[in-house]
Symmetry: C2
Subunit: 112 residues, 2 copies
DNA sequence: TAAATATATGAACAATTATTCAAATGAAAG
DNA sequence: CTTTCATTTGAATAATTGTTCATATATTTA
């Protein structure tokens, strides 16, 4: 426990330059979406092709229910979009940004 | 539940092109680190300056214990490094990659 | 050596979350 | 219209995780 600030001027200066709690919270929220391996698998598969729920279940070795739950999360986060064709729902990535985020994460891992 | 694969050829082709489970798991692990607002705050603060634990506690409005726990996680993930000077431990970002990851996440949030 | 200080650590607790299972939709086909 | 099929949904469960609190460690100072 500290009685006083150790580097008062520096710490206050940095505190003033901080981004808003709200923005930093939102940034964390986006990363949280990518922070699950099932979702990462889905994202990478959709990077390769538009796919339906049962395709994704097969590709990721998960149940269709699990995939459907995760797809809902990805859709709410605006990372994927879907279109319906009869009984089948096709999912794809919303935009290039999703791929960019994935690739930067991948680079980081591969460079260690 | 599906008896058979709906798009057998496509699904098998995509499955063959998938990255290894291990790599995708590791990618998720990195994003998981960024998926907490306290850690994101720490990372952004350290982007501005090298700081000690109590500075970070002040800047992020958290307890020193909480910050210390999070710094351990960040250090294990090789996202931050530290140096000791007397009683004080100074933390800083490990490399530019950490900043890049943060910035891409920030861009994504700000573009919505 | 004892007191003070900065940080670290471990256990406990609460909260969040991913999966499973069972059941419900919604659409096509028989 | 009944059955089949693809997907969705909700509740339950198990596992993970961030914070707190108390205590420990390490370093400096009195």
């Amino acid at each position: 426990m500290n009685k006083d600030l150790i580097h008062e001027k520096l710490a206050k200066r940095v505190k003033n330059k901080m981004l808003s709690d709200e923005l930093l919270f939102d940034v964390a929220e986006v990363f949280k979406i990518f922070g699950d391996s099932t979702r990462v698998k889905i994202i990478y598969a959709l990077k390769l092709s538009e796919l339906c729920v049962s395709d994704l279940a097969f590709i990721t070795n998960s149940s269709e229910s699990a995939i459907s739950h995760q797809l809902r999360i990805l859709k709410q986060a605006k990372l994927v979009k879907s279109r319906k064709e009869g009984k089948v729902v096709y999912y794809s990535l919303k935009d290039e940004h999703v791929i960019k985020l994935f690739e930067i994460g991948r680079e980081h891992v591969e460079e260690l």
